[in-house]
């Protein structure tokens, strides 16, 4: 048990260090802005008094280290200051946009899991067959279409040809939960399709490997049906080994939603981020960036913990 405790402690330390580093990256990205931050934010037309007032408000006159720790302390409490262009607290703005981005990410994740597992199971049963080859090629093609181009094509197809979807219409979940889900399904699918290809590729390889394992041969010799072997032995093993990949995919999904929201005109974090960039609203921008990066850090840590809990080899630090 000693090795398990030790490797858990190492994991926790690495998590905290990464989180600290990510916060430092976020902070310093906005601290190293060439020229005077306040001047850059206000533009060339601002008077010297306005610039000085903003500098005071942002605390730019304090030493860098002090500013960093102040910022970190507040950020940990969810306080990123006030947005300059919207006037609202940054935390409030972020949480008002979460239903779109998180909802989309979650639906996309469901798509990824629900489609890539059966696809991989079908392909791994007969590697090299026509079915396997055509699905693998389809995966390659999906992976190669930029998500925003894919979104446009699907909008064209579903809303203009089939007339079953209206792009740009969004209903908040508090108004009508069904309509909210309906407005997020197509965008989620657009984010999910390339990730399905990625997850599928990994799962296919891992399932082929597991299906050649000794435990599968034993199960076969006991007369278990192929379907039962697949469901009870191969898929659960692949699922454990895919936890890390899924956490990577989920982070990619959040990154991908930033662009796809723009195509579908959905009021999510991505739109807020772009508004912050174009208005040079650095408090808002750093808040969103910190939030998204922290979600990813926590996600990777959770994936690590879950695989350690399930798999004793990882728990004791025997495999990496």
């Amino acid at each position: 048990m000693g090795s398990a405790v030790r490797s858990a402690l190492i994991r926790l330390c690495e998590f905290l260090l990464t989180a600290l580093l990510v916060s430092f990256f976020t902070f310093s990205a906005f601290a190293i802005i060439p020229g005077d931050t306040a001047r850059v934010m206000l533009g060339p037309d601002a008077t010297e008094e306005q610039v000085e007032a903003l500098r005071e408000e942002l605390g730019l006159n304090a030493p860098l280290a002090e500013r960093y720790f102040d910022w970190l302390k507040n950020a940990c409490r969810g306080d990123f200051g006030k947005s300059l262009s919207f006037g609202n607290p940054v935390g409030e703005l972020i949480s008002s946009r979460l239903p779109v981005t998180l909802g989309m990410s979650l639906i996309a994740l469901i798509f990824v899991v629900a489609i890539s597992f059966p696809m991989a199971a079908v392909c791994s049963r007969n590697p090299g067959s026509i079915k396997d080859k055509s699905l693998s090629t389809a995966g390659h093609i999906l992976f190669a279409i930029p998500p925003f181009a894919l979104s446009m094509m699907l909008i064209l197809f579903f809303s203009k040809v089939l007339h079953i979807f209206t792009a740009g219409r969004y209903t908040p979940p508090s108004d009508n939960f069904g309509a909210y889900l309906a407005s997020l399904i197509l965008p989620s699918l657009c984010i999910a399709l390339p990730k399905i290809a990625m997850t599928f590729k990994f799962l296919r390889a891992s399932m082929i490997e597991f299906s050649q394992g000794d435990f599968v041969r034993t199960a076969k010799s006991h007369g278990l049906s192929d379907l039962r072997i697949m469901l009870k032995h191969i898929i659960p093993n692949s699922a454990v080994s895919s936890i890390t990949v899924i956490s990577l995919v989920l982070s990619d999904i959040m990154g991908g939603s930033l662009i796809v929201e723009q195509v579908f005109n959905l009021p999510g974090l991505g739109r807020l981020l772009l508004a912050a960039i174009s208005r040079r609203d650095f408090p808002l921008l750093s808040g969103i960036v910190f939030y998204l990066a922290m979600m990813t850090v926590i996600l990777y840590f959770l994936a690590d913990v879950i695989s350690a809990v399930i798999d004793p080899r990882i728990r004791d630090g025997r495999a990496s």
Partner: protein
Amino acid sequence: MTSYNASRRYLYTGGIMLAIVVGFFLLGLFWTPYGINETDSASKLLAPCAEHIFGTDNLGRDVFSRCLVAARYTLLVSFAGVLFALAIGTVAGLIAGYNGGIVDKIVMIFSNGIMCFPGILLALVAVAVFGPSLYNVIWALGLVFAPTFARVYRSSTMELLGRDYILQAKVMGVHPIRIMLVHILPNLMSQVLPAVIIGLANMTLFESGMSYLGLGVQPPAASYGKMLSDAQSYMVAAPWLIFFPTLMLVFYILGLYFISEWVRTSVKGGSR
């Protein structure tokens, strides 16, 4: 020998796709039928025809000419970005892999830190801070991709360290830098090459996404991402405006994937 044929098929399909994009790039260097920003109010949103084989956009600009010229930015950003990422990744990965221990831990924590910014987020921040320009996009994306290469170099360097010839070089007192450059680096090509090809493809996906958002390659230069975002309002009336730029991007990215698939399968001796 089916796998041999399959691997050949990857080479041919990928090669043809890449040849089309490179052909567009080369042709665009010397000749375009119309100026890329030459507007013509008499021929707006024309469907593909003899004078405009890819049609025209909402300002009457010739899509074919723009596709020819946009190829150079796609190639430039992907190659320059990957080179930048490779430069950082090689140094960091070799040092981390060769030294191990605390040096390795520091490099890995840094690379993990960068990888925790999902997708194009870090590149968007860089562009927000330093302003959108071709060069900012290149180094920002290069930075985002550097950890990937550092990881490949690190793990392959670690695998080589136990080999006799490396041990002997160490015993003979060869300088570590010489060991890294002369004995390790050339032996990592087979692991690094697929990573580079995939990197080029992923870089293009990211670059086109940023250009779509208006934060990548800036007008008056033409880029596929920007062409697609301009086309979005007209996509019902003029679907060719999204078809051709998408096709170019897909040819380039898919071509690279197929070539990397060919490299992978032929290096492994034709195994699946």
